[in-house]
């Protein structure tokens, strides 16, 4: 174990800004990518669903 306390862990031996800046931004961007893909999937399904219903109505 490298850390005596939680404070020591977050201080990262004085490199807190650099280390947490790297890990934080990476985590943030990966999360944003996941959210964007999920959102895209949902809008596509909605849009195609609408299209299908519209075409069905036209046929009737």
């Amino acid at each position: 174990m490298n850390w005596g306390s939680a404070g020591e862990f977050f201080a990262m031996g004085g490199y807190a800004f650099y280390v947490w800046g790297s890990f934080g931004v990476t985590a943030l961007f990966l999360l944003v990518e996941v959210v964007m893909v999920v959102h895209r999937k949902r809008t596509i399904v909605q849009r195609l669903g609408r299209r299908m219903r519209m075409q069905a109505e036209v046929k009737q």
Binding site: M1, N2, W3, F9, M12, G13, G14, Y15, F17, Y18, V19, G21, S22, F23, V25, T26, F29, L30, E33, V34, V37, V38, R40, K41, I44, V45, L48, G49, R51, M52
Partner: protein, 248 residues
């Protein structure tokens, strides 16, 4: 032989790949989370402090995997693009398209973490180091691929043109890398060598775990994105209609 061929073509058809990818995504997502937890634990709690760089070196656990991923994804993307061009399989072109944004993201992250690592270690946010410079050029190549794809309206032409571009890019990547390296050694009096020629085994294990985690993450996200691409490309087919009516 014949059986294998049939299987291959079966899974290369979007209609069968779409549900298969949907089933696979959760497994890869779970693997990604588990491996990230293991990797972060090893990286922060098991790997010892570096005697030279202190705690700052821990950026390596995402910087190096992200850089690896950025290069590897480009090669995989070009391979899919090449398959799409040669065999005219729609799915491989869609896979290439789905890989590009994730690859570009990892390239950006490698640059970002590189800058945050460089500032305390080398004293500058940006150094014209051979590896950083090549990474920047790789980002340009990704952006070129995505812009070309986005600029062409006809999906078939878009797939083929960007596929050809990806292949030309992947042939050029080693040439660009070598010339940047040459340029760097000529121009920089004191070359910057990353310390840690003999890495601790725990550090190496943590780095490998993080790389595997990013792999699993990439597979999960790319499968999810390729499902979107498939839906958009095949929206007028029968199977998409039944697929959509199945899941409201």
């Amino acid at each position: 032989m014949a059986v294998r061929q049939i299987n291959w073509f079966k899974f290369s058809s979007p209609a069968t790949f779409y549900p298969l990818a949907g089933k696979l995504i959760p497994y890869f997502a779970v693997l990604a989370v588990v491996l990230t937890v293991i990797g972060l634990y090893l990286g922060f709690f098991v790997a010892p402090t570096d005697y030279k760089q202190g705690e700052g070196y821990r950026i390596i656990f995402i910087h190096v995997p992200a850089a690896w991923m950025s290069m590897f994804i480009y090669v995989v993307m070009a391979a899919y693009a090449g398959m799409g061009l040669v065999f005219n399989t729609r799915l491989s072109s869609l896979m290439a398209t789905a890989l590009a944004p994730t690859g570009a993201l990892f390239t950006f992250l490698a640059l970002w973490t590189g800058a945050l690592w460089g500032k305390p270690m080398w004293g500058a946010w940006w150094v014209w180091d051979a590896r950083l410079t090549s990474e920047l050029i790789l980002l340009f190549l990704y952006i070129g691929f995505m812009s070309l794809k986005a600029a062409i309206d006809d999906p078939r032409r878009a797939a083929r043109a960007s596929g050809l571009l990806a292949i030309i890019g992947v042939i050029n990547v080693p040439i660009i890398y070598k010339s940047v390296e040459w340029w760097n050694t000529l121009h920089q009096g004191a070359t910057i060598k990353s310390s840690g020629t003999s890495m601790e085994t725990t550090m190496l294990t943590a780095m490998l775990m993080m790389s595997l985690a990013m792999w699993m993450y990439t597979i999960a996200v790319v499968l999810a994105r390729v499902r979107c691409e498939i839906l958009e490309a095949e929206r007028d087919t029968e199977w998409v209609a039944t697929e959509l009516s199945k899941s409201p």
